[in-house]
């Protein structure tokens, strides 16, 4: 993928499919590293499936024999000299604390580092597509942080739904301004 924001979209959609009620997207940047972590409280994966999930020939999709979201993210991280890991607890084994955490670490100095791209669009697309989920977005950089928690928005919005187009536009502008402040 030409932008890491598309990988975020791809991985977070797995969380939606897993029936998550809370999804955290956390980007942590230092001068030369970027860590991307996507954590959810979805149904999780059993150990045998977890083992195969980075294999491009395993998938939850039934329409084709391979699923490439996780293999592509792993490749994108490792080709910068970074790393990739995924941990998961399946609901049948952990009924009270299940879910999945996908973490990719990138070396930003590598020429093969894929730019982050339009992360604002990824976040608003996810909120609009699944307004029932609590989305917690945090981007920490050496110059400051950008944060968004849809539960805080809901407290202010009352009965106005999160996928209302004006709300989505407001979120977009809010994130743009927040990024402008740490630019």
């Amino acid at each position: 993928m030409k932008e890491l924001s598309l990988n975020i979209l791809d991985i977070a959609k797995n969380s939606v499919k897993a029936g998550a009620t809370v999804v955290s997207i956390t980007l942590t940047e230092t001068d030369n590293m970027l860590t991307m972590a996507i954590a959810d409280d979805g149904c999780g994966m059993k150990p045998d499936f977890l083992e195969r999930v980075t294999d491009p020939f395993s998938t939850t999709r039934t329409t084709r024999k391979v699923g490439m979201g996780i293999p592509f993210l792993k490749l994108a991280a490792e080709q910068t000299g970074g790393s990739f890991s995924i941990t998961s607890k399946h609901e049948s084994d952990f009924p009270d604390a299940h879910g999945t955490v996908t973490t990719a670490v990138f070396c930003k100095d590598s020429i093969d580092f894929t730019p982050l791209g339009d992360v604002i669009s990824s976040v608003t697309t996810l909120i609009q597509g699944s307004p029932g989920i609590r989305w917690v977005f945090t981007h920490t950089t050496p110059k400051g942080d950008v944060t968004l928690d849809t539960d805080e928005l809901k407290a202010v919005l009352g009965d106005v739904p999160l996928d209302n187009i004006e709300v989505i536009m407001w979120i977009r502008d809010y994130l743009k301004e927040a990024y402008a402040e740490i630019a």
Binding site: K2, P56, M68
Partner: protein, 108 residues
């Protein structure tokens, strides 16, 4: 022309040839796998310098006739074994992607 014939005519090295009689029609060049996945077409020869396991999956999804590794790129044994199992033909060319494409252009 079949993959096997193309390999011989062009002087490529056969890395895996589980489906050697597949016909080759056309060619696609690309290294960004997600991009290739949406653009390479069935029966084409796909020229790339990428060599990780994901190329086998992309070749399988796009149904290309073969992968041609450019610039003498080599494969790990596990990638070779997976390609054999999944029926993916892989050839190796010592030349760069452009020269490799020129070489096959006479035949496809």
């Amino acid at each position: 022309m079949t993959v096997k014939e193309l390999c011989e005519k062009c002087g490529f090295t056969a890395v895996t040839l589980p489906e050697s009689d597949r016909e080759v029609r056309g060619c696609y060049i690309g290294d960004l796998l997600s991009w290739v996945m949406g653009r390479a077409e069935a029966d084409e020869a796909w020229i790339t310098i990428m060599s990780n396991i994901n190329i086998v999956a992309v070749a399988s999804l796009t149904d290309v006739a073969c992968i041609i590794l450019a610039e003498g790129v080599t494969l790990e044994d596990d990638v070779k074994n997976t390609a054999e199992t999944k029926g993916i033909n892989i050839l190796m060319s010592g030349k760069a992607a452009y020269e490799t494409a020129l070489t096959i252009s006479e035949f496809v």
